[in-house]
């Protein structure tokens, strides 16, 4: 049997980094050249934001196997925190932008711990309802604290910091961090809990810690995405963060495939771009989403991509070994 040639790690990193930098430069070039109209370029930004929301929810839903329904609540905390910081600190320096995003993520993560510690002691359905309740509580708080949040009319004139580069650098860095977390012993512990919680605990995995960890990481990046959202719209109202927002994100994760980051990215991109492409489709959008959810659950519960994760290096390795079109024997195998 011929030896299967592998690409060394450092070369993989260089290839992946080059592809990502190329993507950033190309995207930024296209957007600043004015080829796209206003609506189109705003969809490009929205896609980035929803990709991060879906990828972050996937940590709790796909990897950990829980069903939180309050993702919009975490997004709201991040959005308002970043918005208030940006309003207070003048200037457009990267430090200010990063400060807003990270502060939003951190405060959201704190709430993630506060809600996660009690909620994760409960079984799946209870967790769903407690997080749903949490999302509603956050919304009621936003409405009833107009001194801070602007109340129902909303928080206005937020500096629009979310340029193409800001959005996509943040999204890429976040996705890479989540990816590397999942390819470590910590990530394996989280997956083991999804697969069989009792066996994980009996194998020495501190299930409480890892559940809260996954939940907190999920909340953190939802908060960061919320910050991007604030810097994109420039105005925040409580209506942006309803139960329906949480459900929209869930639909993306479920359709893409629970536990597949590539799936979340693709589904979030398509579902965000589709309404723009098909204006008439908008009226039926939610009905179609609902039907998709039901049909996918009945006929392909693992989602479109299942747990498949895209790896450029793996495809390159197949090419250099001349096996691109041979069916992999090691189905489901994942490389670091």
């Amino acid at each position: 049997m011929k030896h299967y040639r592998q690409i060394p790690f450092f070369l993989r990193y260089i290839i992946n980094a080059a592809v990502l930098v190329g993507f950033l430069l190309l995207g930024n070039g296209i957007l600043s050249s004015g080829v796209m109209n206003r609506a189109q370029s705003s969809v490009v930004l929205q896609i980035g934001i929803y990709v991060l929301l879906a990828v972050s929810l996937n940590v709790a839903t796909g990897y950990l196997g829980q069903l939180p329904l309050g993702h919009a609540g975490f997004m709201a905390i991040g959005a308002y925190t970043a918005a208030l910081i940006w309003k207070a600190l003048p200037g457009k320096s990267p430090a200010v932008i990063v400060l807003g995003l990270i502060a939003g993520g951190l405060l959201s993560a704190v709430f993630g711990i506060l809600i996660g510690v009690p909620a994760l002691r409960l079984k799946g359905d209870y967790l769903a309802i407690v997080t749903l309740g949490f999302g509603e509580i956050i919304r009621v708080l936003i409405i009833n604290l107009p001194g801070i949040t602007g109340g129902t009319p909303g928080l206005m004139s937020i500096p629009k910091h979310s340029s193409f580069l800001v959005v996509y650098i943040t999204v890429i860095v976040s996705c890479v961090l989540i990816h590397t977390l999942m390819k470590s012993r910590h990530g394996r512990a989280i997956l083991a809990i999804r697969e069989n919680e009792i066996a994980a605990e009996a194998s020495g995995v501190n299930t409480t810690f890892y559940k809260v960890l996954a939940f907190t990481v999920s909340a953190f990046f939802a908060g960061v995405a919320g910050g991007l959202y604030a810097g994109y719209t420039g105005i925040l109202t409580p209506g942006n963060f309803t139960f329906m927002t949480s459900i929209n994100i869930l639909v993306m994760v479920v359709l893409g495939g629970l536990g597949s980051m590539a799936g979340s990215i693709i589904a979030a991109s398509i579902l965000t771009a589709l309404p723009l492409a098909l204006q008439s489709f908008n009226k039926y959008r939610m009905v179609i989403y609902a039907l998709l959810l039901i049909v996918v659950m009945i006929f392909k519960p693992s989602g479109l991509l299942g747990r498949y994760d895209f790896s450029l290096s793996r495809i390159l390795e197949k090419i250099i070994n001349g096996q691109l079109f041979k069916k992999s024997q090691k189905a489901g195998e994942e490389h670091a």
């Binding site: 012993r185 997956l191 009996a202 194998s203 020495g204 090691k330």
Partner: protein
């Protein structure tokens, strides 16, 4: 084969342990363990000693409470009365993962693998302590992450190799044949470097030649790792072939304890089993 056929000697009038372990305290010291489920006493006055490198068997008819004993030992259930000393330490109030760190690992009667993960990753999950790389160092791929990954990879393949599973390291655990799944569960349990390994019906569903291989594997584990092994099993050829001390459970009570020879000729045991054997 240095450990086999050691004589069994009494200890403190509570039970017997292999002669070679007589100088060290028993790994497991269970006293008067009882558990009630809604008024029903599922395990009653269970007292047992297991030597540091003993292979012990727990047998009994179906529904006798054998798995319940394992669940009590791993704190899945809380005992109503009595106590368990693991290596001299009281296990009361410890969580399951803490007990694993103290040195108990187990397999399950109804296999509980992480079936959506690879064979190698299943074993790596078992290596749950002794590593200090933080979440942050994993996210940033700092040197400690690289060290951990390399150590775990090498160790996982070593352990898998013991059970001839190394060439299946990248297969999804759920796609393994049944016998391999049972053996992978043992490897995963071993990965946590236990002092006491609990095997719940390890030979269930295996054919005679697989069972034979498993017997050799179990002996090899005890000799290589110097650990105690306690197993629940219905296959009497396996139990009588490798166990040094055997406890027989019926209706939650121990009806006999002793060496395989003593158990085989014990009239009480024969009576308890007669119903089952007659049906067969």
């Amino acid at each position: 084969m240095k450990n086999v056929n050691s004589n069994m000697v009494p200890l403190d009038g509570l039970g017997i342990i292999p002669e070679r372990d007589a100088g060290t305290p028993p790994i497991l010291d269970i006293r008067h363990l009882c558990v009630d489920f809604g008024g029903l006493r599922a395990v009653d006055d269970f007292t047992l000693l297991i030597g540091k490198t003993e292979i012990a068997g727990l047998i009994g008819p179906n529904g006798a409470g054998k798995t319940t004993v394992f669940n009590l030992l791993t704190n899945v259930y809380k005992p109503t009365e009595g106590h368990i000393l693991l290596n001299g330490q009281d296990t009361r109030g410890k969580s399951m993962h803490q007990l694993n760190q103290l040195g108990i690992a187990r397999t399950f009667q109804n296999i509980r693998l992480f079936s959506g993960m690879t064979v190698e990753d299943n074993v790596k999950v078992g290596m749950s302590h002794g590593y200090s790389d933080s979440v942050l160092s994993a996210m940033l791929r700092l040197p400690s992450w690289w060290r951990t990954e390399r150590r775990q990879h090498i160790r996982a393949l070593e352990l898998l190799d013991l059970f001839n599973l190394a060439d299946k390291a990248n297969t999804l655990a759920g796609n393994l044949p049944y016998g391999d799944q049972r053996r992978l569960e043992i490897v995963r349990a071993l990965a946590s470097e236990p002092k006491l390994l609990l095997l719940d019906e390890p030979a269930a569903g295996m054919n005679p030649s697989e069972t034979q291989g498993l017997m050799e594997n179990i002996r090899m584990l005890r000799d290589e790792f110097n650990i105690a092994i306690m197993l629940i099993e219905h296959d009497m050829s396996l139990v009588m072939g490798i166990c040094e001390g055997i406890a027989v459970l019926n209706y939650g009570k121990i009806i006999a304890k002793g060496t395989p020879k003593e158990i085989q000729s014990n009239p009480v045991v024969i009576e308890a089993y007669l119903g089952e054997e007659a049906v067969k």
